[in-house]
Symmetry: C2
DNA sequence: AATACTGTTATAGCTGAATAATACACTGAT
DNA sequence: ATCAGTGTATTATTCAGCTATAACAGTATT
């Protein structure tokens, strides 16, 4: 996997796993790949994977069965809440960043629409 | 100034200056604060400021008169292009991130609208 | 010439992120 | 009991980012 420079890899791994969960590719109770498999898949050190998983463990999104593996929580309420937070945070940051670039809230919708129009034209 | 952890400070300084330019608070040809003043303002080391400015220099957004200071380029075409890029990059990332969270392009507009509605209600 | 601004460069030291390598500990199947 | 697959922990090493401090170099004003 390719990682951005300038952002710690373990955070990007977290983000990657969160997205898998948000997309439903990893579901409640499901086992995730072992730390060693992930390390190989992501071409990253085991310790780095471990660090990401520990955090998600602390956050309650994953739980660990020693000797067996890591599993997505079965707390579906927490999962739903987490998914919503991911999206809200994205929206938050977007609005804030655009505001800081001088784009006003009331124009955001139109700017976004125009952008999507443009990007669709490129693909045609 | 407060900086996010996990993103190099010199990049955040760049971002800060780019925003000042995008907002028109720093205009073509205008002198920007000296490295030492910036260092104090931003509570950061001179070398860190220097690093940010060097990059912007390389990118042509600033030019340096040794002994006098740093100035915003007078190439207004470049400035306009830069402003547009900042916004486009923001849009790019937003669409990409939301897609990775399972929100489809065709729903983005509505999701954004709803979010803005929600945030406006909070302020009332 | 002196002073007070500018930008520039260099050194040494600290911290966090990441790696490699190794070992330990637990679980489940053979 | 053994083995293969899990998570966990330790150590040593490298590197990037940042700081503090100091020195050097150019410009403008006095």
């Amino acid at each position: 996997m390719e990682f951005k420079d300038n952002i710690p890899i373990y955070l990007q791994i977290e983000q990657y796993l969160y997205r898998q969960i948000a997309m439903g590719k990893l579901q409640a109770g499901q086992k995730i790949p072992s730390v060693r498999k992930l390390a190989v898949e992501l071409t990253v050190n085991v310790n780095t994977v471990q660090r990401a998983l520990q955090q998600m463990n602390d956050q309650g999104i994953l739980y660990t069965k020693r000797g067996e593996g890591n599993f997505v929580t079965e707390d579906t309420a927490l999962l739903d809440k987490t998914k919503q937070s991911l999206i809200d945070n994205e929206l938050d940051e977007f609005v804030q960043n655009m505001t800081r670039l001088g784009v006003k809230k009331e124009n955001l919708g139109q700017v976004l629409e125009e952008y999507i129009q443009r990007s669709e034209n490129k693909n045609e």
